[in-house]
Amino acid sequence: MRVLAAMSGGVDSAVAAARARDAGHDVVGVHLALSAKPATMREGARGCCSVEDSHDARRCADVLDIPFYVWDMAARFTEDVVEPFVAEYAAGRTPNPCLRCNEKIKFSAVLDRALALGFDAVVTGHYARLTDGVLRRAVDPDKDQSYVLGVLTADQLAHAMFPLGESPKSEVRAEAARRGLVVAEKPDSHDICFIPSGDTRGFLADRLSEAPGELVDAVSGAVLGRHSGVAGFTVGQRHGLGLQAPAADGRPRYVLGIEPVSRQVTVGPVEELDVHALSASAPVWHGGHGVTEDVVVQVRAHGGLAPARVTVSDDGLEAALAEPLRGVAPGQAVVVYSGDRVLGSATITSTR
């Protein structure tokens, strides 16, 4: 097959491209330029979109002896990932931009263009297994990224290749070193690629005209203080609340809810974070959605798993959790698993 390898300049996508080539595919490497004004150098371990990262991707393609190009996806990325990210926070929800990027950029804009240009599939360095259209968790539980891929439709998955799903990360690094890829020791990228400073609240504050609001105690209803804007608060957040006086019982307070219209942020003790049931909309199901018993739901990229009973409707799902989960935020995805198999993904709208 003719396959297009999306190469970030990191070790995973480089090894994925190498494996696709070794499997006999005709591979072309593409680095996606996602920032209109990329930084010259990468900052610490964060981000993947500097000119330095583009250079690393090119050097890997050179070593693999595959053609390499840079595709300018900055406008699409801004429109489909960054702007919705800001809008979701403004609406009091907690978005997952990596998931949106997979859904709207890598397996939409890039895949569409690749198919039109005569390619058969897009290869990425995601840790997930994909066989016969069935998406499963990667064998490396620490690196598994099936959560951020669950949103892909059957048609998108039919043109996706994830060559790293069977390998632990350590093996991928060792293989990169063996292949002479200079990125073998490059640190993993963390956080959000378009906020290389890691300061999400600062990023949002620069983009949102914020209005102040009240911090309210969920139990007593008392106004505990004021905040300068709801953006940047996340359900489950403990630090940076700006509260002077401790709670009466001396225990820490957490953000329990954000009401964007009244701009009221409710805070309370940790047990109030317990979520026993959730509703979600905009579901994507993989191969039908008959199985709803004996499933596990996952509500954030790392951790946040609970056995559940899922009731499916046409435009969403209800999940009753067998064990409570904490810090479940509207806007995040809920992904439904049967064993290691992804059954579907939807966007959390409310929790109880």
């Binding site: 190009y69 263009r113 198919l115």
Partner: protein
Amino acid sequence: MTYLDHAATTPMLPVAVARYSEALGRVGNPSSLHTAGRRARKDVEEARESIAGAVGALPTEVVLATGGTEADNLAVKGIYWARREADPRHTGVVVSAVEHHAVLDAAEWLAEHEGATLHVLGVDETGRVHPSALRELLAAHADEIAVVSVMWANNEVGSVNDVRALADVAHEFDVPLHTDAVQAVGSLPVDFATSGADALSLTGHKLGGPVGVGALLLRRDASCMPLLHGGGQERDVRSGTLDVAGTLSLAAAVHAAVDDVPRRTVELAGLRDDLVARLVAEVPDATLNGVPLDAAPVAGGPARLPGNAHLSFPGCEGDSLLMLLDAHEIECSTGSACTAGVARPSHVLLAMGVEEAAARGSLRFSLGHSSTAADVDAAVAAIGPVVERARGALARS
């Protein structure tokens, strides 16, 4: 492989390779006083005289440098500094909107860091600067302008300016004119003395010489401050140990290329005209950017670089076209190369009034001394299916 990107860099001429490699084996710093040094100095000075003779300059006017970028920076910044020192009112810099980034960014840097005022000269829809536009600007700002820089021939669309007429206008207002002739030397008749320019940039690798060697032709009476300080080897305007082998090779290439201009003008233009006609026959809505092929001559020479074919293909992304042609072993360009390889709409096309979408769907094919009819055939054979596929890609994204 079909190489149609000679405007980016062109293969070295055999005579330049021979001069280069034979000189690389000899020791001698031209600034040394002993026998080896004197021999190196003699070689460099003969090369300088050869270059000067080929382009209508005096040997003392040839300031050797590392290439077009250094020569452009030296001219724009160096003349600006010298003129401002002579008269503090001279803080204006005039450049055309379609200059290479080596000129444009140097001028912008002066504006950002040296208190310069930047004046950008517009171009017509073919990418040319009209002397009347320069006259109008200078009439309004004559006392403030330190330097004017307008390129001889544009690297993207190949449009040729009437440098003589522009220099005459600049001199009416006692303002010096620099011209970036990197694309012109070896492709067009270039005579420094009759051009009237006060400074002219040229570089080796665009005309069959090595990368890393070039020159700023600088009139004897032009004052220019150095960018690089040190031994003052080149008229105290440029320091650094002279590159003997590079200079000999450059001289051989300049001589051969300039001698070949009459042939290139006819043969390359013939190949280029054939390429354009057949590309448009394959893709009927493709349009040629820049000066029409049958335009009247400029200063007795072609109005367009003979090897330049720059076309817009409606409904396509230039980088899709480039990638698909590359897969067909045809090498061309979307315009000027850019940081991180990201394709942006060309500032040249935008200045000419081309719509952004059309600007993004453009390709530059540039022929050179080694181009053949077979190269044209290969590009013509590939373009139809490539454009069709690229259109599909844009329609879906």
